[in-house]
Assembly symmetry: C2
Homo-oligomer: 412 residues x 2
């Protein structure tokens, strides 16, 4: 049986980045840039003022002080967006932040060092030549690469794209993910319960939400009962997708159901079945389609196993397809707040924990109920503590590696 790391390697080696597409800027947030962004002009495009005040010639203010102010005649104005008049010797031009430096001026005196009276400005301080002038191209030059391909587009990058006149931009495509729920006993929302053995789905929509959260496009294909015709039909509907996720139908005795039909209908090449992890052991992974560039994940039906498998295997694959450099959730070393023990140490176990950050340390508290069917144990969990193969017990204050699937606790 593959280890966690071996399984992850097989998946990522078989995962290819998708093609590019053009999106409008208002749809570009959190997408991965697929072109270099080049400056279309110098920035600032011309020398401009960093302050509200007066544009002057330095020679006219040399020696100015509180007791011996320079006195200059006020002339014209330079407002943002205007072309100002030329500055002659003995004059000062009122100027605003961002406005062009008038020809002839070489220094800007901020308002607080001046007084205006009778059409004249009194300047009470000598500033260095060039003060308060933001020079042409001081930020960047036309032709400079401002953002490199591969960068995740956050608000600052969106601002830069706008400033260089890019209403549309190349980004990497998002995969389309088909979700097929199997199992005779699983009901969709609002379907009437007729037998106490029936279970209302949770995985269908928790997987939908997990796909959304990564930034890909989820589609619920539907609920396939455990009969050949229904499974064939639902798999056919998934043929045009980049990734197919099935939930259920992979544990001992069920495995053949999913395996045989994905081979028959989608021509899936199965890379592995079973990983030495808990929960999530019966995971199936395969590739299909042209160049085997499409992925298949047969996800176990237990609700917690489903979430864990998505978090540690499917999410990194989706993130890689979309061009992200950082494809794994934040993993930290935390201090265990209580003892933990288990009966069998033959698999790597992901235990649900609640992580807190106090005085520069992460603390992890495991939950009592760790069954893979216990969904409510996830409500207060924000991390998956990793108990390695061969480790039967951990003590309070031991270190434990934790995959954080929710970082809200870090916010104030």
């Amino acid at each position: 049986m593959l280890t966690y790391q071996e399984a992850l390697s097989v998946i990522l080696e078989n995962t290819k980045i998708l093609g590019k597409e053009k999106v409008f800027l208002n749809d570009a947030l959190n997408r991965v840039l697929a072109e270099d962004i080049v400056a279309d002009r110098d920035n600032p495009p011309a020398d401009n003022s960093g302050m509200d005040g007066f544009a002057v010639r330095y020679e006219d203010i040399v020696g100015a002080s509180q007791t011996n102010p320079a006195v200059l005649k006020i002339f014209g104005e330079s407002k943002a967006g205007d072309i100002p008049p030329v500055l002659e010797k003995g004059y000062a031009i009122p100027i605003y932040t961002g406005a062009l430096i008038p020809q002839g001026a070489d220094t800007v005196i901020q308002k607080e060092f001046t007084k205006v009276e009778d059409g004249k400005v009194y300047i009470y301080k000598e500033l260095k030549k060039g003060s308060n002038i933001r020079p042409k191209a001081g930020d960047y030059k036309k032709g400079d690469v401002l953002i490199k391909s591969g960068k995740t587009l956050r608000p600052p990058e969106i601002g830069i794209l706008s400033s260089v006149n890019k209403p549309t931009v190349y980004v990497y495509q998002k995969p389309r993910v088909a979700i097929i729920t199997t199992g005779d006993e699983i009901l969709d929302l609002a379907e009437p319960i007729t037998k106490e053995s029936q279970i209302r789905t949770s995985n269908t929509y928790s997987l939908y939400a997990q796909v959304l959260q990564v930034g890909a496009y989820p589609t619920v294909i539907g609920f396939a009962k455990d009969n050949p015709e229904d499974i064939r039909e639902k798999l056919k509907y998934a043929k045009n997708f980049d990734i197919v996720l099935t939930t259920g139908g992979v544990s001992v005795g069920e495995y053949d159901l999913v395996k045989d039909f994905v081979k028959e209908v989608l021509n899936v090449n199965i890379h592995f079945w079973k990983v030495a992890i808990k929960p999530g052991k019966p995971l199936v992974f395969g590739t299909w389609g042209e160049d085997n560039s499409k992925l298949f994940f047969g996800i176990p039906g237990n609700p917690v196993a489903s979430m864990v498998v998505f978090e540690v295997f499917v999410k990194p694959a989706l993130s890689k397809m979309m061009g992200y450099e950082k494809i794994h959730s934040l993993t930290v070393d935390a201090i265990l707040t209580q003892d933990f023990s288990r009966k069998s140490a033959d698999r790597l176990e992901f235990i649900r924990v609640n992580v807190e950050y106090k005085n520069g340390n992460f603390y992890a508290t495991p939950f009592g109920k760790q069954g893979s069917n216990i969904l409510t144990g996830m409500v207060n969990a924000n991390g998956l503590g990793i108990v390695e193969v061969g480790v039967e017990s951990l003590k309070k204050d031991d270190k434990i590696r934790v995959v954080l699937f929710d970082t809200e606790f870090l916010y104030g």
Copy 2:
């Protein structure tokens, strides 16, 4: 002039949580729950098997061992979703994970401790009575509150909502945010540049992206030139919104433009103008509308100031309106990697830094260019280091508080 903390307090005291609305489950991710979620039935709804194997009577397997197996006749089957037959003494019923425990059975033997031959199953191990049975209501009981109002809906909570048959759910509303860009010199995307003094907007769309990222609804009302008719018109278009953001028109000499018109058109009650921070000093904040429940932010035109002001003032207000408990970005104590000094220490300064997390510590590296017009300095930044009032310089290895506006660096 108000301090950073005073200004933030004024804003948050004047910010009210919005009303509730019903959304479909596929739109509920990352929204804040506005009702308690109650279990509609026990979970599991009945005793069921935690393993693939055989349902047996404990009394029939007492003393079973490798050398002395218990031998039981195989009868019927219990699959997930089926109602199994009654188990008689001396028989074993094949059972699958999740399937109902047959009446008469009290223990499940997993497949690996058995061998099947000639319609009989050989059981090589005595398990404890009740082994591998997941008891009815072991996760929760009908009527239990599973998720409390106020919780942010992540994939686990979406899964639980589905499992208790909630296709729609009450969440807190998202504010609608109007963005109005002012300034004669500011051009929209694709508008031809006719003077070198003209600037292509960055704030319009970086603010749009920031509003989107918080989870609210941004709308670009348009670009108002600095003339009364245009400003009045654009403000009128914003009357139905919950929040109005203007960009530009608030620094000395421009302030009256925005202030007078928002008073006239929207009847805004101005709470403050100017905060002792850098960048972002000329921020204006006001309330308006019925019960003064709507907000107005006059955001400075400098691109970096605009982003900083949004991050530290507007974002917490929007988050509070949407019902989030955690409304501030993650703030950490980081170790400064180089010296920092400044000329004037009369304001709290937010310096752009790049933060890394190594060996359990956060390290902050400030950028060389810190001008509030230098947008490219934001591309490699992920945090805002806080230099307090009165602090003129910091040394390498000093601690600095950092507001993290991007946590991607924490991912693997």
